[in-house]
């Protein structure tokens, strides 16, 4: 029997560990994801995000610990789990020598979508991914953003309960990235689906309902984006004045807060920057030349928790290398 509490949990992970020989890729993580929310797994390269997804979608067996999707054990009930999930892998898993429609049809047959439903779902997916006009073009002629949208739409064809997105925007230009996000944030409502996504782009994690920050295989913080930002303690205000030294002293005296000087600017950390700025300008005797304020980002959270920045991966995606391999193969294999 499924208890009442479990009904409100779509993904449950308990003490999950995965070792590859001496490397511990996932080091005892636990979390739960509520239905129809977007859960973000945020961490630098090598943190263990893809490994966690591989275990959840039954491609890898855990070393120890448990994982459940929609009440099914990922290690013991792989068939039930597979029927409940859709996935967009970190590296594209489209057949680039087939058309968009053929890729979708392949998926529909593979997941045994009813013959009466099949064509309608494929057409819907093409419309949803805004690829209707390119439906019969080979995927190898598509841009990175089009391929990603097609993969997301494909992952939804069999109406999964959970959709995994592993670094969905990796290697895309900023324009396609924001388009894809707009598209992804619509999914829970329009498709009744729970999203589990990973990213190492801090800004992207802000669309999530909840986030877990993972580093070296461990979850070091979790909560809503707002809760996590509280960890860094509010907004940072930067001021330039005619005499910074004097102004800083004044701020310390009048507001009882720490104000430091760096690179020609005074900076101070306050809980609500927008309400403090007008007061600051009114009270400081020295003339204020410029003011800027920074809201804490998840990057600041990560920095605060680990003492290091999340580096952005260069966009030289695996695809380019693989294309080169493929053309090499064309030239050499036809002996």
């Amino acid at each position: 029997m499924i208890s009442g509490k479990l009904l409100h949990i779509m993904i449950r992970v308990e003490n999950l560990v995965k070792r590859f020989g001496p490397v511990t890729a996932v080091d005892g993580i636990s979390f739960a994801v509520a239905p129809k929310t977007i859960f973000g797994f945020l961490g630098p390269n090598g943190a263990g995000k893809t490994t966690t997804i591989s275990i959840l979608c039954t491609l890898l067996a855990p070393t120890s610990g448990e994982a459940f999707i929609n009440g099914h054990d990922c290690a013991a009930e792989s068939a039930a789990v597979r029927r409940s999930i859709g996935i967009v892998f970190q590296d594209s898993s489209l057949d680039k020598d087939l058309t968009a429609r053929e890729n979708l049809l392949f998926h529909a047959y593979l997941y045994r979508v009813d013959a009466s439903e099949r064509n309608r779902r494929v057409e819907d997916a093409l419309k949803f991914a805004d690829l209707h006009e390119r439906a019969d073009d080979l995927v190898k002629r598509f841009s990175g953003g089009m391929k990603r949208r097609l993969e997301v739409a494909r992952g939804l064809i069999h109406r999964p309960k959970v959709l995994f997105l592993d670094e969905p925007t990796l290697g895309l230009d900023p324009q396609s990235r924001s388009n894809l996000w707009e598209f992804i944030t619509r999914l829970p409502k329009e498709h009744d689906v729970t999203i589990f996504m990973t990213t190492h782009y801090m800004e992207e994690a802000e669309v999530c309902s909840r986030i877990a920050i993972i580093d070296k295989g461990r979850i070091i913080a979790s909560g809503t984006p707002g809760e996590l930002k509280k960890i860094v303690g509010g907004d940072v205000i930067y001021l330039r004045t005619e005499d910074n030294k004097k102004a800083a002293e004044e701020i310390r005296r009048l507001f009882q807060i720490e104000a430091a000087e760096k690179e020609g600017e005074i900076f101070l950390s306050v809980p609500r920057g927008d309400s403090v700025i007008p007061e600051l300008i009114r009270e400081i005797g020295e003339r204020v030349l410029s003011v800027r304020m920074q809201r804490p980002t998840l990057n600041d959270v990560f920095l605060k928790l680990t003492g290091k920045e999340i580096r952005e991966e260069t966009a030289a995606s695996g695809d380019d290398i693989k294309e080169a391999v493929r053309s090499y193969r064309r030239r050499h294999d036809r002996g």
Binding site: Y109, L110, V325
Partner: protein, 255 residues
């Protein structure tokens, strides 16, 4: 457990790509024809075969075997590209058994190889052979089971390799020896004892032997078949089952 939907769609995909890539068809058809007419035609003048079939006629079953060998292995080895380019993950994460994947891939090899073998078979009048309708049906049947067995063997090979670099290794150290040690170019009974051992371990040998039975039903001389038709078909079927089982296991191991 084998899911029909999965087998169907895996075969449909390979078929679609095969039809789309005409250059592949041209090159796989050209190779056996070059061997048949240049090697077979040339050797026919050097090798007196007495009252039996001429040399070019003798190698005709071997050339059909060659067509099947290359196209089945090529079809199965595409698994390595599927792994390399990520599409394999789409298949592996689907709710289907690993066996369905193996049977689907082997069936793809069977369909594509048989089509190519039938194209080569159509050249029989040019080498002066007479083949009736029932003979032709028998030949197509043997081509199907042989292609399935070789494709299953190819899948087993592919399961040990992760990258395209292994392709030339497989071609030079496995496929070419399989061809030469198969009775395709010379009768097994004329081979040195050591090579004969390898030839008898090669499933292709029995497929070509079965084709010799069907193409030269009345031949009894030096160029006749080496084993009984019953043994030939039995060995190929047994090999198919063993290769599918091993390949299924090899796939499971990855999962």
């Amino acid at each position: 457990m084998i899911e029909a939907n999965a087998v169907y769609v895996i075969v449909a995909r390979e078929f679609k790509k095969f039809v789309r890539e005409r250059s592949r068809l041209v090159s796989t058809i050209a190779r056996p024809l070059v061997w048949l007419f240049l090697v077979g035609g040339g050797m026919s003048r050097l090798v007196p075969t007495g009252t039996g079939p001429s040399y070019i006629q003798f190698i005709f079953p071997g050339i059909l075997g060659m067509t099947i060998l290359f196209s089945s292995i090529f079809s199965s080895i595409s698994i390595i590209w599927d792994k390399e380019f990520g599409f394999m993950k789409e298949i592996l994460v689907a709710p289907i058994s690993r066996f369905s994947v193996v049977v689907g891939k082997a069936t793809s090899g069977m369909v594509l190889s048989t089509i190519q073998a039938v194209i080569i078979l159509a050249f029989f009048p040019l080498v002066g052979l007479k083949i009736g309708v029932f003979q032709a049906l028998g030949i197509v049947f043997v081509c199907m089971v042989l292609s399935f067995a070789i494709a299953a063997f190819g899948i087993l090979l592919a399961s040990f390799y992760e990258s395209y670099e292994s392709f030339s290794v497989i071609m030079n150290f496995i496929v070419m020896p399989m061809f030469f040690l198969s009775g395709a170019m010379y009768p097994v009974k004329m081979m040195p004892a050591l090579l004969r051992v390898f030839t008898k371990l090669n499933p292709l040998t029995y497929g070509i032997d079965a084709l010799k039975h069907l193409i030269f039903p009345n031949e009894t001389g030096a160029l006749s078949a080496d084993f009984s038709l019953f043994v030939d078909i039995g060995v190929i079927l047994a090999a198919s089952i063993v290769f599918v089982a091993l390949a299924g296991k090899a796939f499971e191991r990855k999962g």
